[in-house]
């Protein structure tokens, strides 16, 4: 299992990095499972998402929710609610 994870905006700043690779198995293989895995492995990520409050995610550059599956070689992004326009 290899997943590229990206971070944007305030999450990127508070976590202090813009991407990382996950190469271990996480369960369930969903957005929620990956987020829980990241929180366990990176206390700074857990702290950052707690401060941000609402978090959103994308899988392979489509908006995703907690149950969206994360397959091998997926690109998953976490970020705060969007504020364009």
């Amino acid at each position: 299992m290899k997943v590229k994870v990206r971070f944007f905006a305030s999450l990127k700043e508070q976590f202090g990095q813009d991407s990382l690779e996950v190469s271990t198995v996480f369960e369930p293989a969903t957005v929620a499972g990956l987020r829980a895995h990241l929180c366990a492995e990176h206390p700074a990520f857990a702290k950052a998402i707690a401060e941000i409050g609402r978090l959103r995610a994308a899988v392979n550059q489509d908006m995703a929710d907690d149950d969206t599956p994360v397959a091998d070689h997926a690109e998953v992004a976490f970020f705060p609610p969007v504020t364009g326009g």
Binding site: Q61, D62, P81, V82, T83, G84, G85
Partner: protein, 155 residues
């Protein structure tokens, strides 16, 4: 939809020229609805000196193209487009241009508003403002979520 485009760019845009592009050679068009979003000098009671627009390259274009596709499925759209700027911007600068053409005005207005409401909640852009109190990320507005929800109820 006979013509559409999505542009994500640092440079400014010319609304008049873009409207020409939407209309050229399409005499069935009777209505052009457009929206321009601009940088305000005040937000949440603070002076805004400048802002930076961050985005998610690749996903941004995909998200905006999908918004146009759904607008075309839901409304009678002859042509449509979105331009969104990224990078540093200053008060009074243009940020976003959304436009839709149709035979009649109701469909053009609906499509243009739909594009903006979805862009506000579905396109991966984030604004960071430079204020006298320091830099701050703009918070998402609940009113943007409710603006999007009205289209879901209408389905």
């Amino acid at each position: 939809m006979k013509r559409s485009k999505v542009l994500v760019q640092e440079s400014d845009f010319d609304v008049g020229a873009e409207i020409q592009w939407l209309r050229r050679g399409l005499p069935e068009i009777g209505a052009v609805a457009t929206f321009v979003g601009t940088v305000r000098d005040i937000n949440e009671n603070s002076t805004v000196r400048a802002m930076t627009l961050e985005h998610y390259p690749g996903m941004t274009e995909k998200a905006l193209e999908n918004i146009l596709k759904v607008a075309d499925e839901r409304f009678e759209v002859t042509s449509a487009m979105i331009i969104h700027r990224v990078g540093p911007l200053y008060p009074e600068d243009q940020i976003v241009f959304a436009a839709a053409t149709s035979e009649h005005r109701q469909q053009a207005f609906l499509a243009c508003e739909f594009i903006m409401d979805y862009l506000k909640t579905e396109a991966p852009f984030w604004k960071k403002e430079d204020t006298p109190e320091g830099a701050r990320w703009v918070s998402a507005r609940d009113s943007d979520d409710s603006a999007k929800e009205r289209w879901e109820q209408a389905e």
